[in-house]
Amino acid sequence: MTEYEIKAKNKFSFGLAELIQYRELFYFFTWRDVKVKYKQAALGILWAILQPLIMMLMFTLIFSKALKVSSDGIPYPVFAISGLLIWNIFSNGLMNSANSMVNNANIIKKIYFPRLIIPMSAILTALVDFLFALTIYVAILIYYHQGVDFLKLFIYLPLSILITVVTTFGLGTFLAALNVKYRDFQYLLPFMIQFLLFANPVLYSAKAFTNPVINTIMKANPIASAIQLCRSVFTGQEVDWQGVAIGSSVAIVLFFIGIYTFRKTESYFADLA
């Protein structure tokens, strides 16, 4: 028989045991969001592939054809898609998770389950989209006869995804918690994401930065690290492992700040939402 207490302030914990107990809910929330997202669209799940494809074509047109941006010696579409894959996990995951608590307010107010499942599933939804987008990635690699170092591919790509997910998770839970209390973040977030898209070397090479201050900031930027890793699979450039280490540490710090903030405030979500 399970015995537990309900008190005003429980001791702080990440609630891992409970998350494992409710693990099936991750699946159901993610499955619901993926399903609902494409349900009324005639092209359905195909949009998960079309969206990054259209983005890639758009950016190729502007950055490669019109602006002649350098792409580290690989075809620009390959360059763009390897950045966009990582970027889309981050931006979609952040957007989904930051709004997730507000969107699911009616459920939060009526039933208990570990609240972390909601922003986490929101990020998993972005990951599902990523898996579909991977097919274009493969298609483009074949189209451009891009040489791939398979050893690098199977180590660098998962590592870059991991760094991205951990970062997204930290920022996403942090914003989700704040958003319940201050809806202002709902309006602020699209600008933040737009700013970050141009501030990160998604569409242009990181080498474009010449200012040492900006280079230092970029080292601490986990998303820039992840993109660099993901790209080096093709460019054959040396990975700045020091930068990746710093970026990963920042990602882990963000992760814990996010969960801490979320867990600290989650018990009052039902009163505020």
Binding site: M1, T2, E3, Y4, E5, I6, K7, A8, K9, Y22, E24, L25, F28, R32, K35, V36, K39, Q40, N106, I107, I108, K109, K110, I111, Y112, F113, K181, Y182, R183, D184, F185, S267, Y268, A270, D271, L272
Partner: protein
């Protein structure tokens, strides 16, 4: 045996009034970063030192007026919101039904919603799969299983939602007023299911305004009033205390009309006190009339109407004309129903005052609403449902 639920000194406070409540804007926080929160300035105690214990297998009713703290208590018990102070010890898996169909999504099909809703309620996927056929059977929507929920009628959605909930198997089940919805046929299914649950030895906490349902389903009840436990006792005792809490409304004072005969007071004396009347129990109505002059052919009549404004009972009192006029002054009249057969529901009294000789009507007004409940009566298989009849006859069956 240890109690399955121990509620100790639970208090819940909400801040009210100030704009810091509910919708906080960042601007407020930024513009007043050093302003201390005014603790206790505008707090409202939704629950105030609530204590009780529930033993395994007990079914407990929770009754109280709107705003008494019932919903807040349920939310704390189901871990949706934390108490401000105090603690609760639970010794079992809790499932709460504060709403049916939590997590239903209009775009998903009936089949998909069964899984979604079931897992939000805390069922394992394997459990849902195991009960899937029974759930579909119980809901009666098998033809529409692959139709999106948005095409369902509200009744069908409700049936599906309740069907999922009916197959929850927690040690403690918390239910909030969910039976107040749905058609009569479905209500009887639900009541039957709930009865089954409580008889199977599980603990049920049941909040309802439907006193008849509380009295059929529970043996003990809690009466919450202004956030405090006013009484925790056997259900009949608590229901009686609850209904007698509405004092005064069973007595109606009517303003006298200058120079005209009139009824000045009507008092409904119910079997349970207050405004609660038991079916097949005695009911008495007292009238006080003031006559400014002698009245010949005095006629007093009363009607009892149901909640749809339909007259159900009519009765009257006449002074025979040859006995001479009724003297001026104050007169009292009483009508006794030895065994009021009215079925459960809400009723009110309409009073008429007239004079038969001159055929003048002096007065007509409505007063004294009261509620009839099926107390201590053995319920039929399907429980007592609202509006199945107006009254119950004494009959004999042979077979």
């Amino acid at each position: 045996m240890k109690p399955i639920l121990e509620v100790q000194h639970i208090t819940k406070e909400f801040k009210i009034g100030a704009k810091q409540e509910r919708y906080l804007s960042l601007r407020d926080a930024l513009s007043n970063p050093f302003k201390k929160k005014e603790e206790g300035a505008n707090t409202f105690r939704a629950l105030d030192d609530v204590n009780f214990e529930v033993m395994p297998g007990e079914s407990i009713g929770i009754i109280g007026r709107n705003g008494a703290g019932k919903s807040t208590l349920l939310k704390i018990l189901s871990k949706i919101t934390p108490p401000s102070s105090g603690k609760i010890i639970c010794r079992g898996r809790v499932a709460s039904l504060l709403e049916v169909g939590t997590g239903f999504h209009p775009e998903l099909s009936g089949r998909e919603n069964i899984f979604m809703n079931g897992s939000i309620l805390g069922m394992r996927k394997a459990e849902i799969t195991k009960h899937f056929d029974s759930i579909v059977d119980f809901s009666g929507v098998e033809k529409f299983l692959d139709t999106p929920l948005k095409r369902y009628s509200s009744g069908m959605q409700l049936r599906l939602a309740f069907a999922v909930a009916a197959f929850l198997e927690p040690e403690i089940l918390i239910i909030d007023e969910v039976l107040a919805v749905g058609d009569a046929e479905f209500q009887k299914k639900c009541l039957g299911k709930m009865d089954e649950v409580s008889k199977s030895g599980r603990t049920v906490l049941f909040v309802s305004h439907d006193l008849s349902a509380v009295s059929t389903l529970t043996k003990k009840s809690i009466f919450l009033d202004k956030g405090k436990v006013k009484q925790f006792d056997t259900t009949p005792a608590v229901i009686q205390a609850y209904s007698s809490n509405f004092t005064q409304t069973n007595i109606h004072h009517q303003d006298a009309i200058e120079g005209k005969p009139c009824i000045t007071k009507v008092e409904v004396v119910t079997s349970e006190g207050g405004v609660l009347q038991g079916n097949e129990k005695p009911l008495m109505v007292n009238f006080e009339a003031q006559l400014p002059y002698d009245v010949s052919g005095f006629a007093l009549s009363l009607q009892i109407f149901n909640h749809l404004n339909q007259p159900i009972i009519y009765n009257w009192f006449f002074d025979e004309a040859d006995k001479g006029p009724r003297k001026k002054g104050t007169h009292n009249f009483t009508i006794n129903f030895d065994k009021l057969r009215l079925y459960q529901g809400n009723y009110f009294v309409r009073v008429h005052l007239a004079e038969t000789v001159t055929k003048t009507k002096f007065q007509q007004f409505d007063c004294c609403p009261f509620e009839v409940a099926m107390l201590d009566k053995k319920a039929p298989e399907w429980g007592w449902q609202n509006n199945v009849c107006q009254y119950i006859e004494d009959v004999n069956w042979t077979s």
